[in-house]
Symmetry: C2
Subunit: 358 residues, 2 copies
């Protein structure tokens, strides 16, 4: 394994850190390597909690920016070690983690080492367990033990955004909708009540549902309300007494969790609805002055983020946050996960242009 | 364990054979006991195949009646050994198998021993594995190895019919109805196609379906078309690409399997339908002269049988067949399974009145 030498290019660093497997729960080797490198940098104060590492400049600047990236990946599927490949004349780094999100982490590591005198103070965060239960997420732990480390005027998550700036994110709510019936032998169905048949209007309403497009601070968020699972039945000769439809509502950040729940209950009025999970979205926060400067410096068009990401965590703490990273999010978790070399370089240059200028 | 003495009353015999556990697959002890008793009877020719026993008179009568009962039960659930109980002033034998169908078998064993000179020749059959896959059923095996033993002018299955005569049975068809879609992350639902939403019209049609009541040879069969299981979905954040609805059609014996399948395909036109299991019903066969004499002798009102039973096997071989046995079929497989003592005696007397008279 090549050493994690932070003077290498961000493309070379991408390959090196992708070739250190770090599937969620198994981040220690990579975290150790990162910790060793950044601890050696005199311009940073370094703090470690498990496999989450925080490195801060202490320049007394008027403003502080948090720049964060998770170091874990979803499971490897024959796509490590990485390869340099060419698709339609464009150079890519191929392999697990290249998109989600080690190319972003590589750029952050390189700039953390290089920018000893940035125009704002910077808090770098590299964290574990992003790809699994939110309870395990390194930032969840850190917010409990060291909430002070989240202080900042603006935050950038290096999640893949195809080199664009993706602002905010949709909220996410899951609910179970249940119908009840009475069991009976299916040879005498009239004695029972069929819970699956009773679920017909639930599916009808979901099929007919027209999701909203909602403009928030200039970005248009597409919503969605979908059945993601359905389950009912006891045996091939029994009238079922229970049917459960799991629905997933993705809602624009202009709507809070209570409003989202109320909307789902309205759509499915007359049915038993149990909300099992809900997370607020994040407003794009692009009207903040620092955000405007950032957009101008990186020269990227802002777009809405649809999926929920950790930007919502910062947004909830009152810190405007965006996603800005190399890689097409559609290729995240994909067996053919690959990131364009030019995008890694563009994001590195974009961040440097903003952070280094004074 | 008391000896299986066939001179005891059919109520006493019911308790004795219920107290010999014989859950499907574990019938040997009971089959051995039955075989030992009937082999000792000079007026019967006895044949055994595994745990299925056939005992025949050879009197050269003009007509032959087959009288059959299965000796296995569904699993015991704390309801063996049997008890004598009293419910609202009526005496019952309580315990697993009392209804389905050892009281019927007890009556058959008693009469097999007693009726050495019946007015018709009789083929008694006691068989294994009725409560499980049809492939394992003792009669399936016997029909393959000794089809000649099924010869007869009329057949009586001792399945519980509450002491009434239940003619024929409905047919039974199971099919899987599938919808297909395209997976996508639920944060970008518009990229996918939701297979669960596409199943809405399937449930609508089943919920709106009005089953027929069909008169066949004077008995009215109620049909039914029901979803018995539904399953779809991949994960809480994935638009599902498959939904499967299992439907169960119970159809009057005037309709054959091909017609039943065609009907299900008509109702669910436009959807992928795969028939996974189908068994024809059985016409009641009560217009046969022997059936008319039987009804007159036992003095019971004929009713339609809704559930599929082994009468369909005889019907398919051209032998009119009915169910006639003690016990309420709604209590079959029930933890409080129990048979009225008076019904055991009434069925014994009914069969004796018909078979002994000359």
């Amino acid at each position: 394994m090549p050493a994690l030498d932070l003077s290498l290019s961000s493309v070379e660093l991408t390959r090196i850190i992708c070739d250190i497997p770090s599937v969620s729960g198994d981040e220690k080797t990579l975290a150790d390597a990162i910790f060793a490198q950044v601890s050696a940098l005199e311009h940073l104060d370094v703090y470690r909690d498990g496999d989450t590492i925080v490195a801060r400049t202490r320049l007394g600047r008027a403003q502080r920016v948090v720049i964060a990236g998770h170091i874990d990946t979803v499971p490897i599927n024959g796509n490590v070690p990485t390869k340099d490949i060419d698709v339609d004349g464009e150079a890519y780094v191929w392999g697990r983690g290249t998109v989600d999100m080690k190319a972003g982490v590589a750029v952050q590591l390189k700039l953390a080492a290089e920018l000893s005198d940035p125009r704002v103070d910077i808090t770098w965060m590299w964290y574990d367990h992003e790809e699994v239960d939110a309870d395990l997420n390194g930032l969840t732990r850190l917010a409990r033990t060291r909430p002070d480390l989240f202080a900042g005027d603006f935050a950038i998550l290096g999640e893949p955004s195809d080199g664009a700036v993706e602002g905010g994110c949709n909220g996410n709510l899951r609910a179970i909708v249940r119908t009840h019936g009475v069991r009976a032998h299916s040879a005498r169905a009239w004695i029972g009540e069929n819970a699956i048949h009773k679920a017909a209007p639930i599916l009808e309403r979901l099929a007919a549902y027209e999701p909203r497009d909602v403009a928030v601070e200039g970005l248009v968020y597409r919503e969605g309300l979908n059945a993601v699972r359905i389950n009912g039945g006891v045996a091939g000769n029994v009238i079922p007494d229970l049917c459960e439809v799991e629905v997933n509502y993705r809602f624009a950040p202009s709507r809070d969790v209570a409003e989202a729940e109320s909307h789902v209950r309205d759509v499915l009025a007359g049915f038993e609805v149990e909300v099992v999970d809900a997370a607020a979205g994040a407003r794009p926060g692009l009207d903040a002055p620092l955000a405007q400067e950032f957009l101008a410096a990186v020269g990227a068009e802002p777009r809405p983020k649809y999926g929920w990401t950790d930007v919502a965590r910062f947004s909830a703490l009152g810190v405007p946050a965006v996603n800005y990273g190399p890689g097409d999010p559609h290729l995240a978790h994909h067996d053919e996960e690959r990131v364009p070399v030019a995008q890694i370089e563009a994001v590195e240059q974009g961040l440097r242009a903003w952070l280094a200028s004074s």
